[in-house]
């Protein structure tokens, strides 16, 4: 009984940690989307220079910030939060793969990331993204564990 209560309290603290991670990912995605929309032409210019994305620059210039904002909504609502974390982790992994491609094939080009993230080098950006992928998976683990703990505890 005592161990069970302790477990839930511990999970409650972990839950706060997961909520903080969730808020941090919302901050990152909302900032990235707002920066791209604020400097739409600047973002479009960078996409136009990318050998990989140039054919899709027209669509990506608005679709990417739109996708980021959609994920922000998923992360904001408690009912879709877990799905939002999976999608944001997938998007960050996709970004990391793209960044790796750029490091290998076009390291001299500027980054299309918005705001202050532009000041990061390609390599720094890969580590930055992977750090957030790690955080997303940590939050997924905590939310899933919390769900299990609550469903296993007696009413």
């Amino acid at each position: 009984m005592r161990a069970g209560i302790k477990n839930i309290v511990k999970s409650g603290r972990l839950l706060l940690l997961a909520d903080l991670i969730n808020a941090l990912i919302i901050l990152l995605l909302a900032y990235a989307a707002a920066s791209k929309l604020w400097d739409y032409y600047g973002f479009a210019q960078v996409l136009d220079q990318s050998p990989l994305l140039k054919p899709y620059a027209n669509v990506l210039a608005w679709a990417l910030p739109a996708l980021e904002l959609a994920i922000v909504v998923l992360l904001l609502l408690p009912i879709t939060r877990l799905r939002g974390l999976y999608v944001s982790a997938s998007l960050l992994i996709a970004f990391a793969l793209y960044l790796s491609y750029m490091v290998l094939f076009a390291p001299h080009l500027p980054c299309g990331c918005g705001g202050v993230l532009k000041s990061l080098s390609w390599r720094q950006h890969i580590f930055f993204n992977l750090f957030f992928v790690g955080l997303a998976f940590a939050a997924i683990y905590i939310y899933r564990r919390y769900k299990t703990t609550v469903s296993e505890s007696p009413p």
């Binding site: 920066s35 400097d39 136009d48 027209n58 992360l75 705001g115």
Partner: protein, 125 residues
Amino acid sequence: MKNYFLGLAAIIIAIGAAAYTSPEVKVKPQSYTFYFTGNPLLDTDVADESKWSITPTENECEEEDNKACQIVVDDNQTFVDVNDGNKRKLLSTLGIIAVAGADGSGNGYVPKMPHTGISSSKGRP
């Protein structure tokens, strides 16, 4: 409400930070003249940003707006292509629209954009 507090706070901070760190809008952006290199009888050519070049063509442009010839765009609607000798090009996201020339005969197209960027255009007679 407690469930939304952290997320909403993050969104407000993000928008504020993006507004603070976004580049300032230039009061008077530099403008560039681009010259049409395609076939002015084809609307697809006129609407194609890659058919406009910063290098002047041999054709002389006249005031009559019958066929695509040259356009003036702002700096932020162009980019420097590092893969093509640092040549300045039109953004492929500009969305140029080809409209029938001024004589209305349907024998030529001139560029028009929904954005405010093209400050002037001159056509071929």
